[in-house]
Symmetry: C2
Subunit: 364 residues, 2 copies
C-alpha cells in the first residue's frame, strides 16, 4: 500500500531522522546522459559502481536505472546490488529522491518534494526534469510506503537535520528566487517544520563557491552527530571559498541547536582547486539547455559531500594532498564508523559528489 | 541478492508448485500498445483494472508498467495495487514472465525462459520483444530472488503443472518449429524436468481453435487440483473446436498422472463463437509486423483461461448464455474458493485472457 496522504508528517507524528541513524538501504540512480557525463558516462558509471560497492559493505543498495541502461548496469554492478527500472533525467538521488520520515514506532513514510532541476527555467541545469520528479513516488510504490506530497520545491541535498529538531540549510539555495518565489523565509520554515518535524533552523548564508546547486548545504557542512558539524574549510584567505567558509564558521560557532546546545565545528580543509581539463570538457555532448562543462572551470570540490551509512562513512577523494588529512580527521571524529575514501573526480565532473548521488532509507 | 544460478532447479531441490498453491502475490503488466489494443488501449486498461481488483480481494497485486503509462496506471488502479516501472512490449505476464519455483523449505527462486513473442520471426505476434524478454530478470531484481536461465523458448501459458510431478501441455505449441526447432520432444521434456521439477508429461495434441499462441494449454485445459482437470468443451460436432476438445478429452481420460492416478475431466462448455466486430477492428492501429485484428475473425474464447489465487478463482465471462453455467460448475468443483466472473471481451480482443495476463508468485 503506497497511499498519498493528505495530512503532514508532523500531524501524524513522523519526522526525518538524521543520516547517522540506522538505514534499511541506500538508493542510487545510474548515470547515463551524455550531455552531462563525459565519454558516454562510462567513467562516471565505473565510479558509481565503486560508491555502490563501498556502501554495500555496510548496508543494502538499490540502483534505479533507465530501461536503456538496465542490462549494462546489471552487468557492471555486483550481484548483491539490487537493480530496478526507474526512469530518470539524471542520477542525483539525493536531490530528486524522497525524504524518508519515521515515527519512532516502526513506521516509515516518505516526503515527495517538488523538483525543478535546481532552478527550473531560470537557471536549472537541464530540461525537462519530469522523470526525476516521479522518483519519490516510484520508490514509494516499490517499497509499499505511504507518501506525503509537500507543497514546495526542495532538493534533499539542500537540508541536513540532526534528528533532534535542528535543520541546517543555506539561504543561497532555499531563498533563491528560482525555487519557491512565492514563499517567504517564514513560509519555508513552516513547511519544513510540517514535513521534516524540525523546530529549529540554522541558516548559513552560502555554500561552496561555484556550486551549481545554488549552494547546497550538503557540500559545505553536515552533522556528524547532534552538536557536531563538519565544515569545508580553507586557510587561503585569497581563495573565493574563504569568506564563505569563514562566514559559515562564525554562524555555526554562534548557533544553538534545537536542544539549546552550542555547535562544535570540525574544519575539513578543502582540496586544492579542481579544474575541468580540456579533455574532460570535450567528452561531453553539447546540448542547449544543459549546463556546459567548460575547460578551465573550477568545480565545487569538498570532502563534506560524504555519505553516512550503517557503520560506515563513504568520503570523496580527489587525488589531492589534503585527502589523507580529511579522511584522518573524519575517522577521529567518527570512531564508531569505518571511513572509506572513494576517488570521486568523475562524479564531481557531473556537478556533485557522493552525498548527492545517494539517499538513505531509514529503518522504522 | 538476485544471482543468476548456473545449476538447475532440479539439482537444487526446487520445483514449480501448482497455481492452486498459496501465493505471495500476483504479477501483471499494463496494456498500452495501440497496434494490439483498440481505442488507445483504454477499454483494455479498464478491464485490467477490474481483473487486478478482483484478484486483490484475495492476494496482493503488483502491476508492471512502461514509463509512458506510469502515472495513468497509478491513477486508474486502486492504491492497494502496487505499480512499478517495468518496460514491456505488451502485457502478457503469463507468457513473458517468470516461472517461480520453491523447495518446500521456504526458498523461492524463478526460472527465466527465452521469449520470442509466440514464434519469433516465423509467425510471432509482434516485433521486437526485447523488453518482454527482460521481465523475469526485472521481477527477480525487485524481489531479490535468485534466477535460473533456462535454455529454451517457452511461454508460461503453454504449461500447467499439478505440483505433484505432472506437466500438462500441447504438442501444437511446444513442438512448433518456431519455438525450439533444434530440440526434440525428448530434449524439451528433459529441460522441463530440470527446470520445473516434473517427472511425467501429458501431451495434448492441440489447444483452442484459432488461438494465436499456437494452442497454449492454458486456454483449453487446466488442473483444478491434482487428478482433476477442467476442459473447454463444445457439444456442437460441427464447431471446429469439437475435434480438438474431443481429442483432449480422450487423451485425458486415458492418461495417468505422475502418481499413477487417473484424471477426472470436468467439461466447461465454451461460449458461442465470439467474433471481432468492424468497430472493434477499426480501433486498432495498423502496423506491419503486428498481428492484425480483422473484423469477422473468430477469437479463441474459453472459460478455462481463469486464474486461481488465494481462496479465489477469477474467471473470464463473455456476456454469453453459457457464462452462468461455467461459473456454477467451477464453483461446484472448487468449494474451497470463491469464483468471481469478470467480463473479459476486451482482453480476448488483444489475443488472450485472464490467465494470460497474470503470473503467480508462490510463498516459499
Amino acid at each position: 500500500m503506497a497511499a498519498t496522504l493528505k495530512s503532514t508528517p508532523r500531524q501524524d507524528g513522523f519526522f526525518m531522522p538524521a543520516e547517522f541513524s540506522c538505514h534499511k538501504q541506500t538508493w542510487m540512480l545510474w548515470p547515463e546522459r551524455t550531455d552531462n557525463w563525459r565519454q558516454g558516462a562510462k567513467p562516471a558509471q565505473k565510479t558509481f559502481v565503486k560508491v555502490a560497492l563501498a556502501i554495500s559493505q555496510f548496508e543494502p543498495v538499490t540502483m534505479g536505472v533507465n530501461q536503456s541502461q538496465f542490462q549494462n548496469a546489471r552487468a557492471m554492478l555486483p550481484t548483491h546490488i539490487r537493480v530496478v527500472e526507474m526512469s530518470n533525467n539524471d542520477s542525483w538521488m539525493r536531490d530528486c529522491g524522497p525524504t524518508f520520515v519515521v515515527n519512532g514506532k516502526g513506521g516509515v513514510r516518505l516526503v515527495d518534494w517538488d523538483f525543478n532541476a535546481w532552478g527550473g527555467l531560470e537557471g536549472g541545469l537541464y530540461f525537462p526534469w519530469h522523470l526525476d520528479d516521479l522518483i519519490p513516488q516510484k520508490v514509494a510504490e516499490i517499497e509499499s510506503i505511504d507518501r506525503y506530497k509537500a507543497p514546495m520545491v526542495l532538493e534533499g541535498g539542500s537540508i541536513h537535520v540532526d534528528g533532534e529538531g535542528t535543520l541546517l540549510t543555506t539561504e543561497e539555495c532555499l531563498l533563491n528566487h528560482n525555487r519557491n518565489p512565492n514563499l517567504s523565509k517564514k513560509d519555508i520554515e513552516n513547511i519544513l517544520c510540517d514535513y521534516t518535524g524540525v523546530s529549529h533552523f540554522i541558516w548559513l548564508e552560502a555554500g561552496i563557491f561555484n556550486d551549481e546547486t545554488s549552494g547546497h548545504v550538503d557540500n559545505i557542512a553536515c552533522f556528524i552527530r547532534p552538536g557536531l558539524v563538519a565544515l569545508s574549510w580553507t586557510d587561503d584567505h585569497n581563495d573565493p571559498q574563504y569568506p564563505r567558509s569563514k562566514a559559515a564558521y562564525d554562524q555555526l560557532s554562534r548557533a544553538k541547536d534545537a536542544r539549546g546546545r552550542s555547535i562544535e565545528v570540525v574544519k575539513i580543509h578543502q582540496p586544492d582547486p579542481v579544474i575541468i581539463t580540456p579533455e574532460e570538457s570535450e567528452g561531453v555532448d553539447s546540448v542547449d539547455g544543459t549546463l556546459p562543462r567548460n575547460a578551465g572551470d573550477r568545480m565545487a570540490a569538498s570532502y563534506i559531500n560524504f555519505y553516512l551509512c550503517n557503520g560506515g562513512a563513504v568520503v570523496p577523494t580527489f587525488d589531492d594532498h589534503h585527502d589523507a588529512q580529511a579522511l584522518k580527521i573524519l575517522q577521529e571524529y567518527m570512531p564508531e564508523r569505518r571511513v572509506v575514501g572513494v576517488p570521486a573526480r568523475e562524479i564531481l565532473l557531473g556537478g556533485g559528489n557522493i552525498h548527492c548521488i545517494t539517499q538513505q532509507q531509514p529503518i522504522g
